[in-house]
Amino acid sequence: MNNLNEVWSKRFTHYMNEVQKYMRFVFTGHLAIVLVFVIGAVGYQYSEWLKVVNASFPAEWIIALIIGFILAFSRPVTLLREPDQVYLLPLESKMSLYFKKALTWTFWSQIGLVSIVYIVAIPLLNTVTELSSAQIWTVLIIIILLKYLNVQIEFHYRYANRGHNIGVDKITRAVLSILTVQSILTARFSFVILFIVLLLIYDWALVRRVKEQPIPYEHFVKLEQNRMMGFYRFANYFTDVPHLRGSIRRRSWLNFVYSIVPYSQKSTQNYLVYRTFIRTDDHFYLWVRLTAISSIVVLLVNIPIVTWIVVAALSFATTIQLKYALLSSGDFRMDRLYPVVKSQRKQAVQKVLRLFMVIQAIIVTLCAVGQPLFFVLAIILIVISEVTFMMTKDPSEDN
């Protein structure tokens, strides 16, 4: 019995360490700064909007919809691993203890998001509805209860059906959760009880099927792998996650770009780097994302000095991250053996980056047309990018 407790707590410690290790980089990264700006701006807009919002605004339905959808996403965090299907097999009958711990963690780790969304909505409820504050906090308690039910049901559904047609289950729970929240916001308590009872019956039906089945290790392991992969991908935007292979897409609509590389021994690395940059999701989307953020900020903010700082920061971030991503030499690649000078790689990376930073500059400048001194943005962006490339160290020279 103690064994499984230990297994869980060991896994949990390891998992938390891993998450903390990477979250550090996320919160010190450039996106965190952008996020602070965005939250500030959105918060300000929201408070301004509350002053003028019409009393006929359908707040109950909208809040119910948003909360209901968030509740429907209650993926269990089991921390199961591939070898478990072999090593934990003899403990099948005792595994419920392990899953209980896993579901407790799933519930507590996911309660935050839905609570915050609801709490953010409270000022709106105060403005457009006549709910008393006691009622408003009762709703929060019901939402927490709903979260608990959603976590239990999703786990039991996945267990009983090995994850097949999980969409049907999600829609069912989303609809019931939305109706429950809507009913309580409009103080129709008999409906609240009805919908919760329906959810309980649904869960009970699933639990009966769970008892007849062996643990679907394969499904849960796959779910865990996808979840961790998603986390590492996310973390990889901020720091270098070792052994993370980005996915590849052909993006054939960009094929015309390759024609600027002539066929010659001198262009070997150009040939390679253009394709690596355009086809590797991690690299390409990094550029797309930072260009988009830069453009949106420029579109929304009309204070030149602020846009200059943001555009410069994002130009720096784009350049340095792509330089590192394209130049660092981890695994053995065949081009290390090619009879071409080593500096060709760096020159090729510089060329590709220059082209895409000019494109970033054009997009950002177009978003700023009409603002005073808008052309300064392009100059800042290009200069910062060039200086960043020149002044930072070359990661391929480490070894």
């Binding site: 590849i248 262009s267 390679l272 690596t276 065949m334 053996l337 009879p339 071409v340």
Partner: protein
């Protein structure tokens, strides 16, 4: 004429050497087999020859130059087929061939004619625009082989070439090797498939604990082990027993 000459090469990954005082050479048009137990130093030897590891001592001379003297000449003088295929996930088969041709300064016309032949030989014509993620292990190995033969260098370095290839693939590879040999190219091949090595290699180098235990033709080796009429399998096992006695 000697194409590749290793003189008292000592080296490894850390300060503790894996290979010690290796001396051997490969002449023009020779197919030499590098044979040894797991951990005997075959792959380490190959890594020193291709230049991803640098010797702590001794000298490796290929086509008359060391890597330091003339990097371009040294590297254009060989092509390498690694034990596990190393491909670019983001390049199609066609682009792998094109990139390799560009890197080795092969003109487009030659690229076209050579790759047509190779694609046909290895039955990969219809996969030209595929990405490696859709290839099986054997197909990945074939991409590596095609890239290596596309270059047409004086020396081929092939690490465990037969693992993962289907029988037709193995035959195609052996045919290619024979063709290149006839044209005067040399081949250094490390393998565990001893019957094939015995049948095809002109000379064999037996590595044992990082040193050359014996080298020469099959007859030379039989003499060295004092086992007339022995097959390479017999000699290999004899070497293993020798190790057990130590």
């Amino acid at each position: 004429m000697t194409l590749l000459q290793l003189t008292e090469v000592t080296g490894g990954y850390t300060r503790k050497p894996v290979i010690k005082d290796l001396t051997f050479s490969i002449g023009q048009g020779e197919l030499v087999g590098l044979i040894g137990l797991n951990g005997a130093g075959k792959s380490t030897t190959i890594k020193h020859i291709i230049g991803t590891l640098l010797p702590q001592n001794g000298e490796i001379r290929l086509n008359g130059v060391t890597l330091n003297e003339d990097m371009e000449k040294y590297r254009s003088s060989f092509s390498y087929i690694p034990e596990t295929p190393v491909l670019y996930d983001e390049l199609t088969l066609k682009e792998h061939l094109e990139l390799t041709a560009m890197a080795y300064g092969i003109d487009q016309h030659t690229l076209k004619s050579r790759s047509e032949d190779l694609l046909k030989e290895f039955r990969m014509e219809r996969r030209l625009n595929w990405f490696p993620s859709h290839f099986s292990k054997g197909m990945r190995q074939k991409v590596m082989i095609m890239c290596a033969f596309l270059v047409n260098p004086p020396l081929y370095i092939i690490d465990e070439p037969f693992v993962g290839l289907d029988p037709l693939g193995i035959q195609s590879l052996l045919d290619q090797m024979d063709d290149k040999k006839k044209d005067g190219a040399s081949i250094l091949m490390s393998t565990h498939i001893l019957s094939t090595a015995e049948k095809h290699c002109d000379r064999i180098i037996l590595l044992h604990e990082g040193r050359v235990r014996a080298q020469g033709t099959m007859n030379d080796l039989r003499k060295a082990f004092n086992m007339p009429n022995a097959t390479l399998d017999d000699l290999y096992i004899a070497m293993t027993k020798e190790q057990d006695h130590e």
